[in-house]
């Protein structure tokens, strides 16, 4: 139960990050290898903002929740216009370019922020005891064992992620910008012919994708810490999730994120974390080799 809840927190954050990656791939057909670094940048910026704001933890955190994703989104849009657009979104050159962007962001962070891991205080953090139930000789019993608890903040993270994911979904299906995105996704040439400003749509999508990763990072940073190398794992896991969920499919991505994270907790009971990672990585590679449409994707290419 407790492991499941912990799993749900990381699953929520992973889903946000992966949806960002999936959105960018779905609409732009760009594999953004620098996605993990946008995540990292979100966490580091959250630390800066919280650090500069001072006062009550909630003030700094609230500010970070807005400022970090927006700033990261702007940086991403800049990278899109300055680099990706200029290589014409050629798939292979884009990947090489985003590898370059990965190192630039990571190393500039190392130069400015330094190699230390730093915490951000959560805005609220009450301990909530959890009930446990058992079948005893006297029948069904419900009690609150000591030590079995979660924090209000963790529940809030799950809730917030759900709200954001729903917002993204509504944005894609109900709004004009969502319509433009889907049109561009279906056929870039036709979209251009119909006067859709494809360049601007791409910049916005790349910014939103990066912003989602940053938002996920801000949410998780009070639980973990901000560090310049923290982008690697989210990148790898997002890849896994997006590939298993079916490239470019948002619902598939969310389902896969939950599945991976929940199963991760269970797998690591039996195997060491490293072995679990090896198996997960191999699984992804084999899924790509034998079922490129994803485990949950339909027959469409």
């Amino acid at each position: 139960m407790l492991a499941t809840l912990e799993g749900a927190v990381t699953a929520a954050v992973l889903a946000l990050t992966a949806v960002g990656l999936s959105l960018v791939f779905g609409v732009m057909r760009v594999v953004n290898v620098a996605h993990g670094e946008f995540f990292m940048l979100g966490a580091v910026l959250a630390w800066w903002v919280a650090h500069l704001a001072g006062g009550h933890a909630a003030v700094g955190f609230g500010l970070a929740l807005v400022v970090a994703p927006v700033l990261v989104g702007l940086i991403a849009a800049l990278a899109d216009v300055a680099v990706l657009k200029r290589v014409g979104y050629d798939p292979e050159r884009t990947i090489v370019a985003t590898i370059g962007i990965l190192y630039i962001i990571q190393q500039v962070t190392l130069m400015t922020y330094g190699p230390d891991a730093r915490p951000v205080e959560p805005p609220f953090n009450t301990r909530i005891p959890l009930p446990w139930f058992e079948f005893t000789d006297q029948g069904f019993a419900l009690y609150w064992p000591w030590g079995l608890s979660t924090t209000s903040y963790k529940l809030a993270v799950i809730g917030a992620s759900g709200v954001v994911l729903l917002t993204v979904r509504l944005l894609m299906t109900r709004t004009r910008i969502g319509l433009l995105m889907r049109a561009t996704q279906l056929d870039r040439e036709t979209a251009l012919a119909f006067g859709i400003p494809v360049d601007r749509v791409y910049a916005v999508v790349f910014a939103i994708g990066a912003g989602l990763a940053a938002l996920a990072a801000v949410l998780i940073v009070p639980i973990s810490q901000a560090h310049y190398l923290m982008g690697g794992d989210p990148l790898l896991l997002s890849f896994i999730v997006v590939i298993i969920g079916g490239l470019g499919s948002l619902p598939g991505t969310v389902v896969a994120a939950i599945l991976i994270r929940l199963s991760d907790g269970i797998i690591s009971v039996f195997f060491s974390p490293t072995l679990a990672k090896i198996l997960a990585t191999l699984l992804v590679a084999l899924v790509l080799v034998f079922r490129p449409q994803g485990l949950f994707g339909g027959a469409r290419a």
Partner: protein, 312 residues
């Protein structure tokens, strides 16, 4: 045409041979490393430059050779010559398996699949820490590093061993680009469907390219471990998959001399910047972005396009 190419590449080998006697110790050691790494870059080039297969997982082959050699010496008690053979065979086996699997995909999926397999390999090195000593790695003792009675830890011997390896790698590539097999690889890079419709077994040729490239990478990895006496997990990490891509892009993909030029420039660029800051990989990042933007052909590619059309 052939003699000009022979003069250029033979001249490079001769120059490297002479440099051995004039370079100060520091650069002498650097150049030995560069020659081994350039062999690795040249191996990468067979797949990327000539066949058009962009792998993001070559560290898997480099590490397969290095650990194949290192573990055979450390735990198998083998002497360097058979240990090198073990490294070569490890690369052969790993690249054959990876090729058969990864070549079912193409383009972006191929890049991700190679990346994932290499990541799994890297994690496996960490996981089997009892044998590999994980991140820390292990040292091959100076006394054991003798091949046919020649002490490879001696700087001069090491330099010449690296030079021989480099010359062999370059000779192999020169032969390859003139062979029928190599010409089909280039045809696949240029237009895969057309190549198939001329009656060539595209899959078999690509697999051949992966195995050749992977095995030569493994030999370079094994030689690196043997010559410099250290085997460690960093050589299996993502960075060592990105490096050959960077070197080849910088030097010029699909040219025989390009990988050497790229490795030489990048090695010294990173060497210089790591003296200034610990964030030396920034240089690699900036170089990757600038190259994709402004010089996708690399140094030798630009030379070929502007000056020497005959450059192989």
């Amino acid at each position: 045409m052939i003699s000009r190419s022979l003069a250029l590449h033979g001249g490079l080998i001769a120059l490297l041979c002479v440099l051995q006697f004039v370079l100060p110790a520091y650069h002498h050691g650097n150049l030995a490393r560069i020659m081994v790494l350039a062999t690795y870059a040249g191996a990468y080039n067979i797949m990327f430059g000539y066949t058009g297969l962009l792998s993001l997982g070559h560290a898997l082959f480099f590490a397969a050779g290095m650990y194949g050699m290192g573990l055979a010496m450390q735990h198998g008690g083998l002497s360097p010559a058979p240990a090198m053979a073990v490294g070569l065979l490890a690369g052969l086996a790993v690249s054959a398996v990876l090729g058969v699997l990864a070549l079912r995909t193409a383009g972006v999926a191929f890049m991700i699949v190679t990346l994932m397999f290499a990541q799994a390999g890297y994690l496996a090195i960490l996981y089997f820490g009892n044998w590999t000593r994980g991140d820390e790695g292990f040292v091959i003792q100076q006394a054991e590093r003798a091949l046919a009675g020649i002490d490879l830890s001696d700087p001069t011997n090491r330099y010449f061993a690296a030079l021989v390896l480099f010359a062999l790698g370059m000779g192999l590539t020169l032969r390859l680009v003139r062979s029928r097999f190599g010409r089909v690889l280039v045809a696949i890079r240029e237009n895969e469907e057309r190549t198939r419709m001329l009656g060539y077994d595209v899959f078999a040729h690509k697999l051949g390219a992966v195995i050749l490239s992977g095995t030569l990478s493994a030999v370079a990895g094994a030689a690196y471990g043997l010559l410099f006496g250290y085997v460690g997990a960093t050589f299996g990490a993502v960075q060592y998959s990105i490096f050959p891509l960077l070197w080849v892009l910088l030097g010029g993909a699909g040219t025989v001399i390009g990988p050497f030029l790229g490795t030489l420039f990048m090695f010294y660029l990173i060497d210089l910047s790591s003296g200034i800051t610990s964030a030396y990989m920034l240089v690699a990042g900036v170089a990757l972005v600038l190259l994709t933007l402004f010089a996708p052909q690399g140094l030798a590619g630009e030379i070929r396009a502007r000056l020497w059309r005959w450059l192989p």
